[in-house]
């Protein structure tokens, strides 16, 4: 049994009267590739947003590398409106901003690509290195950090070569074809030097061949950078091929988890995907 890197504990996210994530519990071990699947609107991205600090959960906690990094309990108006479970079990508030979570060692990509439009491919990756910069604004302005800057640039160059984007490094990020933009987003996340990589639908909009390449790519970077990968995906081929474990979400609730084989034969999962709720 390897050590747990991420633990989501009793997390509930409620917007007004709508419970988007209902008592989510999951654990991811170091080095694993874990997928989070479920029909549209099941709360997958919301779960990602909670883990990365974009949303503050209504109740519950998130542990990262053995440390509790996020915790909340219903407050104010929410106290009376709260519909989830485990009310009253949490008393503290820990609400780091997303950048802090990233610096702790978690980096993500977005469902709808969010690259920095006016920047080149190289700069997109380089900027992600900023969170690892040790120089302050004065030494950076007066170029007293040459060494660090040079190291970062070399590092980015290497990273771009690894992901196969070195030949387009001076192009504007937005001028790349879609598949490469996805790849660039991953490279950018890698530049932040994470232990845990969160990918939000990395294969969205890709054709089968591109998906296949991506599948190999994810496995490849996991090994190369000693990462743990947590991903949301609809392409079942990709999910089944690379995930070691899968969590299935429907209407905010975990309806199943297990190995790909287990999930494929799980009746509730099949119902959720094929049932009347499909397009809800």
């Amino acid at each position: 049994m390897s050590e747990t890197i991420l633990k989501v504990e009793n997390v509930t996210m409620q917007f007004g009267g709508v419970v988007a994530v209902d008592n989510l519990n999951l654990e991811i071990n170091k080095g694993e590739i874990v997928a989070l699947i479920g029909p549209n609107g099941a709360g997958k991205t919301t779960a990602f947003n909670v883990v990365t600090g974009v949303y503050q959960p209504t109740n519950g906690a998130v542990w990262f590398q053995g440390e509790k990094i996020i915790e909340n309990h219903p407050q104010g108006k929410m106290k009376s409106q709260y519909k989830g479970q485990h009310a009253g079990e949490y008393a503290h508030v820990l609400a780091p901003t997303p950048d802090k979570v990233t610096r702790l060692g978690m980096a993500r990509t977005f469902q709808n690509i969010r690259l920095w439009k006016s920047q080149t491919v190289f700069d997109n990756v380089l900027i992600a290195k900023h969170c690892r910069t040790t120089s302050n604004v004065f030494s950076a302005t007066f170029r007293l950090n040459r060494k660090e800057e040079a190291a970062q640039r070399a590092n980015v160059q290497e990273l771009l070569e690894t992901v196969g984007l070195a030949d387009v490094k001076d192009e504007l990020a937005t001028s790349l074809p879609y598949g490469k933009q996805r790849r660039l987003e991953i490279a950018r996340a890698l530049a932040a030097e994470p232990q845990l990589l969160l990918l939000d639908e990395p294969a969205a909009g890709m054709n089968p061949q591109e998906t296949e390449e991506l599948t190999a790519f994810i496995g490849d970077i996991r090994d190369r950078f000693h990462l743990t990968v947590f991903l949301i995906e609809h392409h079942m081929n990709l999910v089944m091929n690379i995930s070691e474990r899968i969590y299935v979400l429907d209407f905010g609730k975990t309806i199943a988890h297990g190995t790909p084989a287990e999930i494929q034969s799980n009746k509730r999962v099949i119902d959720a995907y094929l049932g009347v709720t499909e397009d809800a």
Binding site: T52, V54, W116, L126, I127, T133, T141, A191
Partner: protein
């Protein structure tokens, strides 16, 4: 690396040309010549426009507090540099004011007259910048959490509040209340202005091309992504705000220097708008654009287009049309055309060297 070298060479050549030109102008023309006055004013506006661009163009924070920070810088400069023996006259209603020293004189005491007063003047400018930065730090805490247009209106309001304070008679012994500050020293040569403002703009350039500058641009392009990539939004926004305000403060001090008089009443929101429009004309996100636009704007409004107001322009005599206010009317129409049809302004987000490179790349293209 090649690109950087090219930029360096280009900048060096540009610098030498500009400096040579300004020294030549200074030598050829008397200090009261309009060309020198206009160069001075344009240089100051260039600095202020660039500082606003750092915030609005590079960090994507739409702040309209520029006039307020300039006010702080202007007053600091005036208050700290008025010669002691002239204070009784300037602070005629406040018994010579509360401050009984003058930085240029203090420094002249141990650095000699000419060097000392220059150091004193620079120190006063620096104090102005630092005060503006301090104020930015204070109001940045609450205000920077606001989203785009709320931020704009809050900073605008802040500038108005500041103006009220400076007109308050209770602070009169320092600010001279509603009355003018004057009789403080000025650099006689346009070259001094160009060197000073040029050095400050160069600092901004260095900052923008540093890792922090890249982080600012990331925030501008996509705040959510920037935050997800570990950039602390609050810290970096505040940093940009403080730095921009520092330069606005120094710019305000230089404007005071140029004007020869300081009155709080002139630092109204109109001034901020004017600077914003300069930034827009030059291109939001382009340092060289802001500089070029400042020179174009100040040269034409203060000098070249005066004919539009006084009946004769380009040899055409039409006193009925070319009367007072026509110049500014024409100007605002041009600005609207730029805002609506050339939204990127003169330079877009490109700098001068970029344009040169673009051309050379285009030449190479067919052979590729």
């Amino acid at each position: 690396m090649k690109k950087q070298n090219q930029n360096l060479v280009f900048l060096a050549v540009l610098l030498v040309v500009i400096l040579g030109a300004s020294i030549a102008v200074d030598a050829a023309l008397p200090s009261y010549h309009i060309a020198i006055k206009v160069i001075k004013k344009a240089t100051v506006y260039a600095l202020v426009a660039v500082s606003m661009n750092l915030l609005n163009g590079f960090t994507g924070l739409f702040s309209l507090g520029q006039a307020g920070f300039m006010l702080l810088g202007a007053f600091s400069y005036g208050v700290l540099t008025i010669p002691v023996d002239k204070r009784a006259g300037v602070y005629q209603y406040f018994d010579g004011g509360a401050i009984k020293f003058s930085l240029p004189e203090v420094f002249a005491g141990f650095l000699g007259d000419s060097l000392g007063s220059v150091v004193g003047m620079l120190a006063a400018l620096l104090v102005g910048g630092l005060l503006a930065a301090l104020m930015a730090w204070l109001i940045g805490l609450p205000v920077l959490r606001l989203k785009s247009d709320y931020l704009a209106i809050a900073t605008l309001g802040f500038a108005e509040i500041l103006r009220a304070f400076f007109q308050w008679n209770a602070l009169g012994p320092i600010t001279n209340g509603s009355n003018l500050l004057k009789s403080y020293p000025d650099f006689a040569h346009a070259t001094s202005y160009i060197i000073l403002a040029g050095a400050l703009v160069a600092l901004i350039l260095l900052l923008i091309n540093s890792t922090y500058g890249r982080a600012f641009k990331a925030i501008r392009d996509d705040e959510v992504a920037a935050e997800a990539m570990g950039i602390n939004l609050a810290k970096h926004k505040r940093m940009a705000f403080i730095i921009s305000s520092f330069f606005a403060g120094v710019g305000g001090g230089m404007l005071a220097m140029y004007n020869g008089t300081i009155a709080a009443a002139s630092f109204k929101s109109t001034m901020t708008y004017e600077i914003l429009l300069i930034v827009v004309i030059g291109g939001i996100g382009s340092i060289s654009g802001s500089i070029i636009a400042s020179f174009l704007y100040i040269f034409s409004s203060e000098w070249l287009l005066r004919g539009l107001d006084s009946g004769v322009f380009l040899g055409i005599e039409a006193p009925g049309v070319f009367k007072n206010g026509f110049r500014m009317a024409v100007f605002s129409v041009i600005i609207m055309v730029i805002v609506l049809f050339f939204r990127k302004g003169l330079m877009g987000d490109k700098e001068l060297p970029d344009l040169l490179r673009l051309r050379s790349r285009r030449k190479e293209a067919p052979s590729k």
